[in-house]
Symmetry: C2
Subunit: 386 residues, 2 copies
């Protein structure tokens, strides 16, 4: 999420993404929580390592709100930035490519290759835009299940995810208990707070208030609205402490206040940069749909708000990790998940990692988190056949 | 700030506001930190109680960002909402109108009677709009000093303020040490954090991104941008805890998700209401100027960042109050102020009030805060001559 901290060099090299398309036939369409269905669904994904003969070494990694299938490595020799969780992937790393077959897929509703609001609606030949159905985290998981079936994998060794990715990781064994061997739910929650719903609301309102949004029918991105939504969200990914350490009240280039409304403070320039670069890479309508799915996320929707009952079919072990300064997905939410799982008799490892990096810590504290994940994965399956 | 909590009935009755205009002559102009000056400055103010013969019973109360001079009571018999700190004002209350003469003035840059961006520039006969100079908290205090001089008050018994008002309260004795008998600085800071600068930045960007803002030259308010800024700010006035308690994930009127982008959740409707009602009462350009003044606030600007030295001329006693769940002006900022004052040998009372209401607690926890303020004021001057 843009905060710079020295990351180790990539071990993965050049990777290619793949596409899996399904649901062309009406009976094969993806049925959604809203009651609608989707046909001609594409799922963009990348894999790392080799699927073993009995297809028992697969790990599914779930990305966050604005992430994508590009988990690690480069797409070309001229790429400057590796995949979003590169530090965790490669020989000897937690997602050990010598042992495991790692899959990362862009979520349904996204804008990085998988079907989303910017995709062509096969029924009209036009982009869906705001005619795209309002999807849920469960719908995203249902789409991924088609991919996992397509790959011939009967059981995933682990589903791992941070932030929104952790929501998908938690939803997976509830929908498909037989398919999930274990879950690592990192910096996440089984329901977001009223405060987070509020921040998402303001972000979406900023996008939809931009006349360039044009009810979703833009040809150029609604760049001001989208940048505002991103800047706001970005504040919630950091912490008071990390912002104080990184920026404090330092001025950008002037030695004194400019006495105008430009970006005097370094933190203001930084946010501007975050906002502007986001506009270049992320679709505004996708942002609306995915934040709505996050708001709606509730695994207890079929059990009348009873979380213990929702997790009842889930027997697999969990790793639950929070970060001490994460105020977007606070520690108490991870504790709640842990308590539910313990009540249900699941094997749970919970750790609240001390970190000043806020929510971004799930990307930045890669060493501490990596050790936890390595240990967890090794315990799950000590003798993986490569 | 809109959060409902039962408040006691008003004791003040009908009040009228007054205006003091100064600076018509060039030599009388208000000199500002930016190097410019203002002429024909109006300050709107209200008073409660009676100024005693030796003018020694005056308390100046400073309002927050979007507050005004209307501290207590009603303006007319049809008024439904009393002044913003009504619970603290009246016979037997902390700001005891039987003992004290209470003054509250709308700040320079405001939009509730005092000169601000929406006022007429005497030099052009047109509203200032964005030609209004970028003012500072110190400039606001300088304008208030003219009012205090005009009222013939040589020394204020106390300057009291919460939030941004606390910044003015801290700035007062630094500029005019002889004029201030004591300070009550509540839910405030002597410098805002990078995180707060960031939130202010996003709010201003939302206003200025609204085409209706038109570089400040609007005839109708840029309502979407201003509402977005307000909704965002409003989240920072509450706490995760208070939002969970007040709204949780309750839905507004539907029994199930609507699967669209309207306000499904009660917290979304609430924010919408806050945003829309703000547009009716507060000028967008004023919001830009006042938040910038908050960003810029730094009492150490003349002492090269040395806060101890900045407070050196200040010998008066302080009451410093923070609230445990206030994350906009966290407890540690009040502790910093307290430590500086203690190092300087000031008489300081510090209290961190346990409250779940977030920053709004300075308005909502009126009983606990009132007892602290009563005790402090009584200690300062046990025998006030009415």
């Amino acid at each position: 999420m843009g905060t710079k901290k020295e990351q180790p060099p990539t071990l993965v090299g050049i990777v290619q993404s793949s596409d899996y398309c399904f649901g062309d036939a009406p009976e094969d369409a993806l049925q959604l929580d809203c009651g609608r269905s989707l046909r001609g669904v594409n799922i963009r994904y990348e894999t790392y390592g080799t699927l073993n003969a009995d297809k028992s070494n697969a790990i599914l990694v779930e990305h966050a709100l604005t992430g994508d299938a590009h988990l690690a490595g480069f797409h070309s020799n001229t790429d400057r930035k590796p995949g979003w969780w590169d530090a965790q992937v490669g020989p000897g790393r937690p997602f050990d490519t010598d042992k495991y077959f790692i899959i990362c897929s862009n979520i349904l509703g996204g804008c990085s290759g998988s079907t989303g609001p910017s995709s062509i609606d096969p029924a009209t030949g036009e982009p869906y835009r705001m005619n795209f159905p309002v999807i849920t985290i469960a719908d995203m998981v249902r789409a991924q299940k088609r991919l996992i079936d397509h790959l011939g994998i009967k059981k995933l060794l682990c589903v791992v995810g941070g932030s929104m990715g952790g929501m998908l990781a938690c939803q997976w064994p509830i929908l498909y208990p037989e398919t999930v061997g274990s879950v690592a739910a990192i910096a996440t929650a089984i329901q977001i707070t009223a405060q987070s719903i509020a921040f998402n609301w303001v972000g979406r309102e900023a996008i939809m208030a931009d006349p360039g949004w044009n009810h979703g029918n833009y040809t150029e991105q609604p760049e001001k609205g989208l940048a505002i939504a991103r800047m706001l969200a970005h504040i919630t990914y950091l912490s008071d402490e990390s912002m104080s350490n990184k920026f404090g009240r330092a001025l950008q280039s002037t030695t004194d206040y400019s006495f105008n409304f430009g970006s005097d403070f370094r933190v203001e320039s930084y946010l501007n940069h975050q906002g502007n670069s986001f506009v270049e890479r992320f679709d505004a309508n996708s942002y609306l749909y995915i934040t709505r799915a996050i708001d709606y996320f509730d695994v207890s929707v079929k059990t009348n708000g009873d979380f213990r009952k929702a997790f009842e079919p889930v027997k697999c072990p969990f790793l639950v990790v929070s970060f001490s300064s994460d105020w977007l997905f606070p520690e108490y939410q991870s504790r709640t998940l842990t308590e539910i799982l313990l009540e249900n008799g699941n094997d749970v490892t919970f750790c609240n990692i001390q970190s000043g990096y806020g929510h971004d810590a799930f990307l930045l504290e890669y060493e501490t988190l990596g050790k936890l994940m390595s240990g967890f994965l090794t315990n799950i399956e000590p003798e993986v056949k490569p």
